[in-house]
C-alpha cells in the first residue's frame, strides 16, 4: 500500500528547496559586513521544475550564483539588508505553506485509513 502520494513527493522537494533558499538568505545576512562578499541566490522556479522532473529518491544539489542588479558599497559588499529581510519573510511563509499542504496530504491518507469507523 502506498502511503505517499505524488503530491507529497513534490512537496518534499519544495520543502527541500525552500530550506536551501533559507540557508542562502541566512548566509547573505551573516555576511552583510564582509568586504568583497557578493549576494548569493538561486532561481527558485527553474530549480523546482528541474527537481520535479527527476525521480523522488535522487538528491539534487543546488548551485547558488551571484545575484545581479545590486549596487556594491565601497568595500565591495553588495548585500542589501532589505532584500534579505523580504526574502526571509517570503521563504518562511513558503515553507509553512508547504508544511500545511503536506499535513493535509497525510491527513487525507489517515482519513482513508479510519474510513470504516
Amino acid at each position: 500500500m502506498q502511503v505517499t502520494t505524488a503530491t507529497s513527493d513534490a512537496l518534499q522537494k519544495y520543502l527541500d528547496l525552500t530550506s536551501d533558499q533559507m540557508k542562502l538568505t541566512a548566509e547573505n545576512m551573516a555576511n552583510v559586513d564582509t568586504p568583497g562578499y557578493r549576494t548569493q541566490g538561486i532561481d527558485f522556479a527553474h530549480e523546482f521544475s528541474q527537481a520535479l522532473g527527476t525521480s523522488a529518491s535522487t538528491e539534487t544539489t543546488v548551485k547558488p550564483s551571484d545575484v545581479g542588479g545590486l549596487t556594491a558599497r565601497p568595500d565591495g559588499n553588495n548585500v542589501s539588508m532589505d532584500r534579505e529581510g523580504m526574502q526571509l519573510a517570503k521563504t518562511q511563509l513558503e515553507f509553512r505553506a508547504g508544511v500545511s499542504l503536506l499535513r493535509s496530504q497525510f491527513t487525507r491518507v489517515m482519513d482513508a485509513i479510519h474510513a470504516d469507523k
Binding site: 520543502l15 530550506s19 540557508k23 551573516a30 547558488p64 539588508m81 529581510g85 518562511q92 509553512r96
Partner: protein
C-alpha cells in the same frame, strides 16, 4: 534538508558582530590611554571579517574548522583581552568569521603637555588617535547587523517548529 545548519550560520554572524562590538567598546574605553604594557599609547583596533568555509554554501557539508588567526592586539589590558575568549570555535560553512583583530599602525596623536608623567623629552604626550564618532557609527552598524541576524534565527526557529507540526 538541514534546518539546524541554517541556525549555525546565523549564530556565527551573531558571534562575529559581538566581537566587533567588543572591539569598539575597548577602543572607546582606551581613548585616552597613554601607557600600555608594551610602552607607548593604546593603538586603535579593528576587526576583519571573512566568509567561513572557503566556497561558502557550495563547499563541503563538513563544518570547516575556521580557526581564527592570532589577534595582533598590542598592549591591551587583561580585562580587555576577554576578546580572545570568543575565538577558537569552528564557524559554520557559509557563515562569517573574524579573520583577525588588527592594530592600527598610524601615528598617535601628539599633545603638548610637559607636566604629564608620560611626556616625551620634547614635552609631547602621545595619545591614541580614536575618533568617538567613528566608533559610535561602527557600533551602530554592529548593532543593526546583530538585530538582522537575530531576526533570521527567529525565522529559522519558526520554520523548524512548523515542520514539527507535520507529526501532529
Amino acid at each position: 534538508m538541514n534546518l539546524f545548519g541554517m541556525m549555525d550560520i546565523s549564530a556565527s554572524a551573531l558571534q562575529a558582530e559581538r566581537v566587533r562590538a567588543e572591539v569598539v567598546a575597548a577602543n572607546m574605553a582606551n581613548a585616552e590611554t597613554t601607557r600600555t604594557a608594551d610602552g607607548g599609547p593604546y593603538r586603535r583596533q579593528h576587526v576583519v571579517f571573512q566568509t567561513a568555509g572557503g566556497d561558502g554554501f557550495a563547499s563541503s557539508l563538513l563544518a570547516n574548522s575556521g580557526s581564527f588567526s592570532g589577534s595582533a592586539m598590542s598592549g591591551a589590558e587583561a580585562s580587555e583581552s576577554g576578546l580572545s575568549s570568543g575565538f577558537g570555535s569552528p564557524a559554520a560553512s557559509g557563515g562569517v568569521e573574524v579573520a583577525a583583530v588588527l592594530s592600527d599602525r598610524s601615528a598617535p596623536l601628539e599633545r603638548y603637555d610637559p607636566q604629564h608623567p608620560d611626556a616625551g623629552p620634547d614635552g609631547y604626550v602621545a595619545y591614541p588617535d580614536i575618533n568617538p564618532l567613528t566608533e559610535m557609527v561602527d557600533l551602530m552598524g554592529a548593532t543593526r547587523s546583530y538585530g538582522l541576524n537575530a531576526t533570521a534565527v527567529q525565522a529559522e526557529k519558526n520554520m523548524v517548529t512548523s515542520s514539527l507540526e507535520i507529526l501532529k
